[in-house]
Symmetry: C2
Subunit: 133 residues, 2 copies
Amino acid sequence: MPGGADLSIGAVAEATGVAVSALRYYDELGLIVPVDRVAGQRRFSPDVCGTVNFIRRAQRFGFSLEEVGVLLDDTERDWVGLVAAKLNDLRQQRVELDSMIHLLAEVQTCGCEVVASCPRIETDLAEHPETAC
Amino acid sequence: MPGGADLSIGAVAEATGVAVSALRYYDELGLIVPVDRVAGQRRFSPDVCGTVNFIRRAQRFGFSLEEVGVLLDDTERDWVGLVAAKLNDLRQQRVELDSMIHLLAEVQTCGCEVVASCPRIETDLAEHPETAC
DNA sequence: CCTTGACCTCAAGTCGACTTGAGGTTCTAC
DNA sequence: GTAGAACCTCAAGTCGACTTGAGGTCAAGG
């Protein structure tokens, strides 16, 4: 057990690419926890970098910081449900995203002057009747 | 030319499922334009439903309302560039989304007690060295 | 005539995730 | 011993996309 290799908040910021102010904010939310304070200054275990990276990833997954809190809480038994729900979300998002990419790719080459009146978009709308007027 | 079939803001709201307050906000931004005012009240062409639906779609594409404004501006020659840029974004997003779905699906079945220490996530991190500590 | 409901404007509030600023302490190097 | 960097707290500001609230107008129905 090394003992003396703890990181200042600045070191964590540099290692992870996350701003110091953001790290303090995560601390405030309890997402990361300093192992110690030296003259008032936070000292983090190097492990915290993993946690920070996890937070960033999870955000990109579409989790809010509050949800990340649940994921990180080892007394929380229901993270599996949260993951399952989020997975459904993501799959749904993917379907939408695909259709949008498809649509935009067509729009790009359709030669219309004004996007809003592009027949490809009309067509697409027609395929999604829930959005019809 | 029918002439008298214009819609009140409430009718547009009902037809599109978008809140009245949001429609007024779109008007304020110039994204939708009433064809008339009757005793101060907005009257919209039924076409506006198409525009509103387009706005919602574009938002789901990841366009901001400001960008939507560019898309809807028929004097704007550069919407093709905007679409191309956004298309790149979306494709990048899709790659990320896919890897996240993959990862979450594994996490879901890995049996770990605490997500943050799940080896699958560590593995995934290892594949993205830019995030290493 | 009077109420009800849909509409109006304008200002201010909300939410999440931070950032910025003021004012102060502490560590490091010379 | 002193300058400058890095840290601290706490309050307030920012951004986008709306929503909410106060206070008021207007047409239709009983």
